[in-house]
């Protein structure tokens, strides 16, 4: 089939006066239904216009490089197929981060928020000779948030983040959640203190954009709710039980 692409472009090195974003249309012929949007963007770049600029690496949804707005919704370009969007598609950079060139945004503010939540294992007790033991049940508590690939689809779909870039954002909270609810970790209190800040979890208004935006299927809003509840209770203990996430979300 033929497919029309409408792509948001920005060339930071255009002549003075012309240096502003614009839309450009491209047509591709011979598109197969199972072609990934990423492959089709490559075809445009390789066959038609080498200046089209985007990030990509693994091309199968694990590296998190190619987050973009596809028909108004945050997706990884390598996880959307032609048949998912039909014959016309509109592509823009993700929102809320400065655009550097075409579909490439400045990721530094995103990673700065990530680093602010102490996103690393903290356990100052003496290390045992073998592995620390953890029950399957306890391992399950934080399983969902270990899937995060830091693609920024959630954070840049969040209206609260768009309104205030100081907000730490869903992805950073997901990363904090992964440690806060890990029974082996001893840094929960420090992280809860960081996230109790005005620019922490309370900027979340439970708008829920983040959850459907996640290409890894993480229940992002639920995770944020669980962190909120842990802050309210002063401890992560017992927060995650059957259904606690939903309660936390509806109470917040």
């Amino acid at each position: 089939m033929d497919m029309k692409f409408r792509i948001r472009r920005f060339n930071p090195e255009a002549e003075e006066g012309k240096r502003k974003p614009y839309w450009q249309e491209f047509t591709l012929t011979g598109v197969e239904e199972t072609d990934r949007i990423l492959e089709l963007l490559h075809r445009i770049k390789w066959e038609q216009d080498g200046t089209l600029t985007l990030r990509r690496a693994c091309a199968h949804g694990i590296c998190g490089s190619d987050a973009m707005r596809i028909n108004g919704v945050n997706k990884l370009a390598c996880k959307v197929l032609a048949k998912d969007v039909g014959e016309k598609v509109q592509i823009e950079p993700i929102l809320g981060l400065p655009v550097l060139k075409d579909l490439v945004v400045d990721m530094e503010p995103f990673f700065a928020h990530y680093k602010s939540v102490l996103p690393y294992f903290i356990n100052n007790s003496p290390e045992p000779e073998r592995e620390r033991l953890q029950t399957q049940h306890d391992r399950e508590l934080y399983d969902d948030t270990t899937k995060c690939i830091l693609c920024a689809c959630c954070t840049t779909s969040c209206p609260s983040y768009w309104a205030n870039g100081e907000y730490v954002g869903p992805a950073a909270i997901v990363q904090a959640h992964r440690f806060i609810f890990d029974t082996r970790d001893e840094g929960a209190q420090e992280r809860l203190d960081v996230l109790a800040d005005p620019n922490g979890v309370w900027r979340c208004r439970t708008i829920y954009n983040c959850t459907p935006a996640c290409p890894r299927g993480i229940q992002v809003t639920r995770a944020i709710g669980e962190v909120k509840l842990a802050i309210v209770r002063g401890s992560p203990e017992g927060v995650i039980t059957e259904g606690a996430g939903e309660i936390a979300v509806s109470n917040s």
Partner: protein, 608 residues
Amino acid sequence: MANIHQFDAIVVGAGGAGLMAALYATKGGAKVAVVSKLYPTRSHTGTAQGGIGAALGNLDEDKPLWHAFDTVKGGDYLTDQNAAMVLATEAIDAVIELEHMGLPFDRTDEGKISQRRFGGHTSNFGEKPVRRACHAADRTGHMILQTLYQQCIKHNVTFFDEFQVVDVILNQGACVGVVALQLGTGELHVFHSKATLFATGGWGRVWSVTSNAHSLTGDGAALTYRRGVPMQDMEFFQFHPTGIYKMGILITEGVRGEGGVLINGRGERFMEKYAPRIKDLASRDVVSRAIYLELREGNGIKGKDYVYLDVTPPTVNKYLAEAGETRRITAEDVEKKLPDILDFCRVYLGVDPVKQPMPIQPTAHYAMGGIPTNVHGEVVIDANWTVLPGMYAAGEVACVSCHGANRLGTNSLVDLVVFGRRGGKAIAEYVKQADFVPLPANAEKEVESEITRIRKSSGKTKPYELRQAMQKTMMEKVGVFREEAGIAEALNTVRELKTRYQTDLSIDDRGYKFNTDLMEAWELGCLLDLAEITAISALNRKESRGAHSREDFKARDDQNWLVHSLIKNHAPSAFATGIYEPDLNTDKKVDMSLASEDERFVPKARTY
């Protein structure tokens, strides 16, 4: 004038090996910077799925010596046995260390690290499959990459993200740093160091069907080769048996570890013919060849060029029952243990592996060859193990050689942590006593002229045309099966493409900021150089061993070929190499230190 930075140590590449090395060099007191063309979490380590092998013995009795044996045998006896023993022994401690860093491994009923079966991993010297692969669902590599990056943040390692290294600087017989292009600005930076470790990964993008990221263009290997560092065992490139049909996306061997089986168009579990003892869990080279042979006999599915990988519970349970095993699997087990695999198949194929078999074909996956190193990560430049002071390598770009002619599943992750750690430790010690060797004048000039040539290129050939032509010819003629005429044709084709690359290239983007058109074109030059020396090395090795399977020399020839290939560019520069014959020698003997004490490590016929 380039920007100049000075660090004790530079680590090029931020995958598992690079991060592990950076962490250990930092912990050892060195001032370290990691220079990477990607944000660290985009590195390809993150896509590794099934597990990391270590003889923990959490579920089955296991020993490092058994792991070393499997590694040597899996490598078809080209594996340096000292390196295999280091790998197998230190794997245990490395995995425990990852757990102590917080890595969320799956757990056994007792709360220990859970382990699963994987191809070629056996107990008691090949007797039966053993549960050795430590796993975090089917995203073990993702968890390793995340965990190591987290630890680097914790230890304040300096990162230069989205800086593409384009040249290595050698002076007075030592490695003194690298030149990198900052993608965001197009500016060149010179990094001056006492020690430089290359951990830039592989070059699967030489082939058309590959599991590898677009970014795996072999930059580190190509640019060191251009500067005169030899490349070892380039003819050995692994084709993983189970890539998603046409797309090449990897389907982990863990699927077969959980009981999945390969089925041909006649409905047969064909691996029973090729590996009667461990069947679908034979080494990857063996399984990939078996698939090709089935396809050749017309046994593909619906007569096409793919077979099925079937992990549906009825099929798996049928074969478990046949094998007399009491274990059974449910749809829920498959969902739980292989979530990412299910997601890939549902998204890309519209196939639900819980209910339907997956169409698969072999996919270019892993470079066994690369920059030769000793077991401390030091780069060695000849058959006498002469060290190039200040240069180190680890991970896929390096050739220790712990993988020999064919790497075992899970051993790439073991390699990263074991030899990344060794490299980092060695660097920490080295920089304590070494002085900075001065930079040569205008260190960036040569590569700057190459970058400028590409930026201004205005010929008639777009990079993708050359890339696709190279990938096609390499897939057809220097793939799973090879023979003299075909390899020679591929070499000719690649050389024609190289000539066009150097004389008739054309790119569109003349800018400086985020010029990915330019960088892709430069990376293509790396791929072409590596494709060329892969073909030359493959042509030279007149035997079949591991992943190098010659139809005109079908047998392994231990008399003449228990040696490593070393290929070397004799006209060092920063430019893509010209068309001339590089030096190629096979003087470097395989280390046989285990065999000298234990008869079981002496090369013998390899059956599974």
